[in-house]
């Protein structure tokens, strides 16, 4: 099992969710985050004073999938989240040692 963490542009959440569903992902967790990267935050103006807003709104996806699905999921995200403009985001893959479905206490791939 792997945990896939993807940082994407907020307005890409729906397309990515649909792409993931179509490759068989049955569960995922998202959160609102702010990102800092090559895409710099813009300069905002407040009462005549400029200031840098260093962080941009992003959405963070976290989903644990069985090993065999990692590639499909990875590719689905890349395809759906891409705009070719700076700030499209990242995908990270982390090892997961165990998973449990709280409701049934099922573990392993059955828990996903």
């Amino acid at each position: 099992m792997k945990m896939i963490v993807a940082i994407i542009k907020p307005f890409k959440l729906d397309p990515v969710r649909e792409a993931l569903t179509s490759v068989g992902v049955e569960g995922l967790t998202v959160s609102e985050v702010k990102g800092y990267g090559r895409q710099k935050g813009q300069t905002e103006i407040y009462r005549g004073a400029e200031y840098a807003v260093n962080f941009l709104p992003k959405v963070r996806l976290e989903l644990v999938v069985s090993d065999d699905k990692v590639d499909a999921v990875h590719d689905a995200i890349v395809t759906a989240a891409k705009t070719d403009k700076i700030g499209d985001g990242k995908i990270f893959v982390l090892p997961v040692e165990a998973a449990t479905r709280i409701r049934t206490a099922e573990t392993g791939d059955a828990a996903l």
Binding site: P10, E32, Q42, T43, E44, I45, Y46
Partner: protein, 436 residues
């Protein structure tokens, strides 16, 4: 009055006097003060509606566009006042009887008759000219606020403000003169007490042409149907509706234009009741309708229902009984969801529901006048609705297209996604909360 003079005798005079306070009439200057006071008090209530539109619209747009809608609403009210001062009032009221357009001149109050050594206060129908101007002025911004709500979340700030200049300085006053200035439409027998057509439909038509030319928000309508974009704050939308409801007592009540006699006071009181009951009817109708048809009560439709009820009664808030007012408003409350659904079907994107509330109910209210006021005919009402509709559609379409050609009216897709607050103002309405 003149005849009475010839007959009068000391005794008759005595009789008149000793009848005492019980039936003594309101005197000239007193009536003048009452009338002036009516304009000022009702006027400040209507001014307050500017805040109502600001809050309603702030609640109904997504948070990334809230600061922009705030700028617009403050700017609209300011610009409307200045334009009406500089050109609008005279264009509207400096019109010949039965005429088509007033004069291009700046307004100034003429108080001479009232401040002279031997003042003439008429037959209880005079008032401070400045109070009348104030009351007329506060109406102007309403029409523009309606447009702002419909076109929110995608229109560029400055082109919108230029449209507001055109609407409040020219389109509104010209058509207003036709009726309230004593122009051709009033001679044709049209009747619109407080502006179902002259104010609300005018805003509605301008909003509709704008919505058609501007197009819907990105993602609002897809092949599979319509995707709602829920507003950011329901309590602000509710607050805005209550503000408008309160302001409407001024809108309709002040349109009686006089308070200096028992008859006028009775009329204003009846107008207050009818205004209130029509809104109540709109709310209850929308409550029941959405429960029955959608399966759940829909707050924003209920709020629109209140406004729809208010717009519906605005063309004739005096003649109906309270019960009739409930029904007239109730029909408005049902027209709202029907119109919302129809606009969705037609893929016309009206962010706050201004077209159902102000245009559809404005037409309904205007056409309903003959139902309770037998002096008015359906044909003259249809004439008024059609004439003003045609005028506003044509003029605002021209204005929109000129703006589109010169400056463009729509922000880029990228800016729309980022939100107008960031792209147009470089700020956020809720810098700590939002992340969407």
């Amino acid at each position: 009055m003149f005849k009475l003079l010839q007959k009068i005798t000391p005794l008759a005079l005595l009789g008149a006097l000793v009848a005492g306070p019980a039936n003594a009439a309101v005197e000239g200057e007193t009536a003048f003060v009452f009338n002036t006071l009516l304009f000022l008090v009702m006027g400040f209530l209507v001014m307050w509606m500017a805040a109502g539109f600001a809050m309603l619209e702030s609640g109904m747009v997504r948070s990334k566009n809230v600061a922009t809608i705030c700028v617009k609403n403050v700017a609209i009210y300011a610009i409307a006042g200045i334009m009406f001062y500089v050109v609008g009032y005279q264009l509207m009221y400096g019109i010949d009887e039965g005429g088509y357009i007033g004069s291009f001149s700046i307004w100034a109050p003429d108080n001479a008759a009232f401040l002279s050594e031997t003042p003439d206060f008429g037959e209880g129908d005079t008032y401070a000219p400045s109070s009348d101007w104030f009351f007329q002025m506060v109406f102007v911004a309403t029409a523009a606020s309606i447009v702002s709500g419909t076109l929110a979340e995608r229109i560029k700030l400055w082109p919108f403000l230029i449209f507001v200049i055109v609407l409040t300085g020219f389109i509104y006053p010209i058509q207003g003169g036709w009726q309230w200035g004593g122009g051709w439409l009033s001679e044709a027998g049209f009747s619109d007490f407080a502006g179902s057509t002259l104010v609300h439909s005018v805003g509605g038509w301008a909003a509709l042409t704008g919505a058609l030319i501007l197009g819907a928000r990105k993602g609002r309508f897809t092949s599979s149907g319509s995707t709602p974009m829920p507003g950011s704050s329901m309590p602000l939308a509710t607050l805005g509706t209550f503000i408008l409801w309160l302001g409407w007592f001024g809108f309709n009540g002040g349109s009686q234009l006089a308070l200096g006699s028992a008859a006028n006071a009775i009329s204003v009181a009846q107008i207050f009741i009818n205004t209130n009951m029509a809104a109540a009817g709109g709310v209850v109708a929308a409550l029941i309708f959405t429960q029955l048809v959608f399966g759940k009560v829909d707050l924003t439709i209920v709020l629109n229902g209140a406004i729809g009820g208010l717009v519906s009664i605005t063309a004739e808030p005096l003649a109906p009984t309270g019960l009739q007012a409930i029904l007239i408003g109730g029909v408005g409350g049902i027209l709202i969801p029907l119109a919302v659904i129809a606009l969705d079907k037609l893929k016309i994107d009206d962010v706050v529901g201004a077209i159902p509330a102000h245009l559809v109910c404005g037409i309904w209210g205007t056409l309903a006048v003959p139902l309770t006021n037998s002096e008015v005919t359906f044909s003259s009402q249809i004439l008024g609705v059609a004439a003003i509709g045609a005028f506003v559609i044509v003029t605002s379409t021209i204005a929109w297209f000129i703006l589109k050609a010169i400056t463009g009216i729509r922000v880029s897709e990228e800016d729309e996604i980022a939100g107008l607050d960031k792209s147009e103002l470089g700020m956020e309405a809720y810098p700590e909360f939002t992340n969407a």
